[in-house]
Symmetry: C2
Subunit: 211 residues, 2 copies
Amino acid sequence: MKLYDSKPAPNPRRVRIFLAEKGMPLAGGNIEHIEVDIARGEQRNEAALARNPLGQIPVLELDDGTCISESVAICRYFEGMQPEPPLFGADPVAQGLVEMWNRRVEFGLLGPVGVAWRNGPIVARMAPGRFRQNEQAKEDAEEAARRFYRRLDGWLAERAFLAGEDYSIADITTLCTVDFATALVDLAPDPALSHLARWHAEVSARPSAKA
Amino acid sequence: MKLYDSKPAPNPRRVRIFLAEKGMPLAGGNIEHIEVDIARGEQRNEAALARNPLGQIPVLELDDGTCISESVAICRYFEGMQPEPPLFGADPVAQGLVEMWNRRVEFGLLGPVGVAWRNGPIVARMAPGRFRQNEQAKEDAEEAARRFYRRLDGWLAERAFLAGEDYSIADITTLCTVDFATALVDLAPDPALSHLARWHAEVSARPSAKA
């Protein structure tokens, strides 16, 4: 199978970290790793659109030609193929709670960070005209992201990882979002949010975070 | 267990349809069904915020007090408890593809319909000041929703249901979004999109659609 990937983007990193946590190597394993040059628009050429008509990365192409896009969908496939260690929850209650936490972070943080990014200076410079800029949406998204960081800090005061005592896809989503927001959207968490900082240091110290 | 529900909202309906497709009755079964009055803000009173600090409905409260919010997370729990018929995919490939289609619809249609709703006349009248109104965001969201309807029509020309030959959570998400967009956001699909109309008539004819 082939994984169409992009190093700088936050969503593909979720898949790379997921695979690292599963002990499935990207190099030397049975996954052919293909880096797509987003800056050159390679994710929207004809062959890429045949794999994913939405023109997004990552995409997993199975040996029979079936293509799975959406980072979490690719992770679901790998969870089914190799259940251990479970990263979507080990039983129905945990599966519900991991899904809940992953979605809370996606809607409450990843979504707003994406809006701030699309309406920010890098996109305006690199892809002028691709998105109609909306300053009010950017401001509201930044405020929503900061509010969510404060919520996160409170939740992480009470547990080791987002969904409880076990590391999960919800931690992967949060780590990739925070690092992207810090590096490319000027939306780093306030360092005074000490529980969020403790959690971030711990998940960043796992070998998978280098993925 | 208790399901905190709201009849008019699109997300709780996803859970009701899911349960109907599983053959798990909301009345007379082992789920206590509690209708929450959103117009009166009951989802944000102290007891409700203890169940879900985000103040959203639906919430499933298990007998040990564990609370699962987010519609799809509640559905995941029920899928784990009663796997048949599978509504998230029967094997790893199907699980990946169902997740992909559900997410395409959530990000491509449910998200924009939600933006159009929050910036539309009903919210401005019923909850003045709750959201800063953004006319440009509303226009862009309406255009995105119409564009996605055209994509949906093309996809549904080639298959019975969103994710292939089997009905899934992706169909539930799409049905609830289309019906909400039609009834409350003035964003009904163009009837000329005949494949989308064919699919909509078929899924609406299932007994679960009355949920």
